[in-house]
Symmetry: C2
Subunit: 468 residues, 2 copies
């Protein structure tokens, strides 16, 4: 196992207070002891060649620091640290590590024990982590096993519900960390936009963007999408050459060193010039983006925000002659989903899709399940918005051959799609505009507002001098 | 599971021929069928947030392409592909994937089946992969389980020995790929050296280096070490500020898209000026580096190369007044290891520590085991060099507080270390110089020779204009 812990991390008094509050709130929600594991870094082809360590988000939320191979026991607002001491022989390879006692003091633990030697915790609730080595340790300690964390039972389910209740609403410390990640992400996008003139490949733009994160000791919160094939929603490869008529879609977000995520997408023309068709569709997507953000307020149903995006996109496509009919009816029939097949966004927090390890428990209010309705099945968030939530707003327009090919076969769509008109928009493969929005009592606060969204402003940035 | 496969990868006719040769050689070495799995990408906190996929090296060696969630059966020089077909619904998220049949044709498979529906392979040999989900599938298919791959039994051990015999000697295709990774790595180091003037933190230099790899669609072959605390051998964090008197040690290597690794270290002064003490020690390490490379030839024992480094370093430290006595005797007593505690290098290939998943089976000739001798216990390669091997040469000098603190307590070292003299070298915390060397019939060929090693040349690079 690589380094357990680095001196780059520390808990200051403000964070210590926040952690204490989170632990007390959990204690008020659940009576049984709670045991949360951090996990450990998976290995590539041999044990010592590890991926970078990413602690479990539930652990991070209460422990505050990414301590590898550790667990915490939370009970009645107090925390106990469980981890092996790092052997002295480790100092040659990894430097002098803090002792378990020092780490316990850092995170405000009232006691600390080796993991191998801890009290009887069979009555503790837990959430199974992704890393299977650690999950097997969880099974051994707790005497039960899990298929995954999306269908928990008994006290584990109680714990999951308590975690959702807490983590849905971000405290000030969380907002500050998300804002830090968002600020660096904005700089990464500016660097990518500037770099496009001198880049020949998607990979060169991606490198320019990710190097901004790396230079701040941040990492990517998810695998970056930097592609001229924006219609492939999760296009993870950036090997294509840039051509003058292409749109480049960049979905890149930073992860703060303590785990908090940003998630931002911009789309811009490789040449620095929008074609008339690209510009027209871009403005439709932007109108949807702006309408969604304007609609955000406490108490508003997120599904309504999604339907706002769908309606604005449908209306825009009617105006452009691509769709025919009444926008509201088109949305009811799911026709907008031919071009906007995904949900308008999701929860953002310690995970880029926050708490998605728990399935839809966080995203869907109790009693709600995924809809079969066209364009709604991929909606990741279906709750009334609450003060303190952070959500993404990310409408898009895509020409996905698999979707449009199948649609052309359907006689039912003949009356509402003008396929000949659509053919004139063939240089618009994929556009998405995504920002991160904090729900405050006064309404939406866009954490990524420093990054322009206007079509003109973006191409002006391409022509201006680069930023640090 | 994310994308199984990308159109960025393809097997050209030259690679097809190489793969055929590798399969035939394996068929000549082992009679039983061989089943090798590629593995799958591990997840961070929720299933869909995956690390980048890194296929098992043994799989890559014979399949040629990083196909996620696949297995190949090798028998008598022929290959069968085993993988599920990608569902059509995947096209929205990941684009149109090649079918199993298309992939089978790419890699030259004579047949292809779904993994869930394959013949009885209980008699097949395998190597357990790192990813535990896949390892459990291996267990189910083959009806046996493994602690890890470092202590295999029966036909699995036979297979491991055959793989070592093949993979110890790199074919032309492998050398070409390692050379590509090495060339990009050299450019990354040049970028890091140039960037140092304008950088304030280790992370900024690291970002400049890694962005060169990313821009070429390569990744890091291992977690980069970019640190002013070079005495911490595997220092994975780059959060420190650069100070004018610091040496910056950068150990960064590219991984070719098809898996082949480079592994390069340089050390340079942050200010662009060596202090007299830094320059003196640097030249000692460089003399060791040059002597080791000069010593490389087919038939030479790698341990002798290691001892060459030890002797040159001991002699240099005697000349500087830090050590006292005869260099050969100092090395016999292990005194050099106070400052050069690790081995002088290792095998390089598809893995940065090639075949380390098999423990010491690749690194150590049959019958040999790790020595207790001071300075030898971390030697990763203890074989006679063969034509076609690629090895690293990476001598170093480090002042590790844990080692030197313990040493000062030992009366036995009083006669051979001048602690007062050593104290004047306190601005030399860690220096390493590492290159990748191909053993040819004519002697060593340094694949990373384009990157200067001379102290003067390196600081001149810092003052010259940046390269692309």
């Amino acid at each position: 196992m690589a380094e357990r812990f680095s001196s780059m991390y520390s808990v200051d008094s403000a964070l210590a207070k926040v952690l204490q509050q989170r632990r007390q709130k959990l204690g008020a929600l659940i009576e049984s002891p709670v045991l949360l594991w951090s996990g450990r870094a998976p290995s590539k082809n041999f044990l010592a060649n590890q991926y970078s360590f990413r602690a479990s988000s539930h652990f991070l939320y209460f422990a505050g620091l990414p301590i590898q191979g550790a667990a915490i026991c939370l009970h009645q607002g107090q925390v106990t640290l469980l981890m092996e001491d790092v052997p002295d022989s480790d100092a040659l390879w990894h430097g002098v590590s803090p002792t378990r006692q020092q780490i316990a003091e850092q995170i405000g633990a009232i006691a600390h024990y080796p993991l191998s030697h801890f009290p009887d915790y069979r009555a503790a609730a837990t959430i199974p982590v992704q890393d299977l080595w650690t999950r097997s340790q969880q099974s051994q300690v707790l005497g039960r096993s899990w298929q995954d964390a999306t269908d928990l039972q008994g006290i584990d389910r109680d714990l999951a519900e308590a975690l959702v209740q807490l983590r849905l609403v971000q405290d000030e410390s969380a907002i500050a960390a998300i804002q830090e990640a968002a600020t660096v992400t904005v700089r990464a996008h500016l660097a990518g936009i500037h770099q496009t003139h001198s880049a020949h490949t998607e990979a060169q733009v991606r490198a320019a963007m990710e190097s901004v994160l790396l230079a701040e000791n941040m990492t990517t919160a998810y695998t970056s999408i930097v592609t001229v094939q924006g219609e492939v929603l999760h296009n993870l490869y950036s090997h294509r050459k840039l051509q003058p008529g292409d749109l480049l879609l960049a979905d890149v977000g930073a992860e703060h060193p303590l785990g908090w995520a940003a998630d931002v997408t911009r789309t811009w023309p490789v040449s620095g010039q929008w074609s008339a068709t690209q510009r027209a569709i871009y403005d439709v997507v932007l109108a949807a983006h702006d309408a969604c953000i304007a609609a955000i307020a406490p108490g508003v149903e997120y599904a309504a925000v999604h339907l706002t995006a769908a309606r604005v996109i449908a209306a825009g496509l009617v105006d452009l002659g691509i769709l025919k009919g009444d926008p509201t009816t088109l949305v009811e029939r799911g026709v907008h989903a031919l071009f906007f097949p995904h949900g308008v966004g999701h929860l953002l927090g310690l995970d880029v899709h926050d708490m998605e390890d728990l399935g839809d428990l966080a995203g869907y209010a109790p009693g709600r399940t995924r809809s079969d309705r066209c364009g709604m099945q991929y909606l990741r968030l279906h709750r009334p918005l609450q003060v303190g939530m952070v959500v993404t707003i990310e409408p898009g327009f895509y020409q996905v051959p698999a979707i449009l090919g199948a649609a052309r076969q359907q006689a039912a769509l003949e009356d509402c799609v003008n396929w000949e008109r659509l053919a004139t928009f063939e240089d618009v493969r994929g556009i998405r505009i995504e920002d991160d929005v904090w729900v405050t009592p006064k309404g939406p606060q866009v954490l990524t507002a420093a990054l322009p969204t206007q079509a003109d402003e973006i191409v002006q940035l391409m022509h201006s001098s680069p930023v640090g």
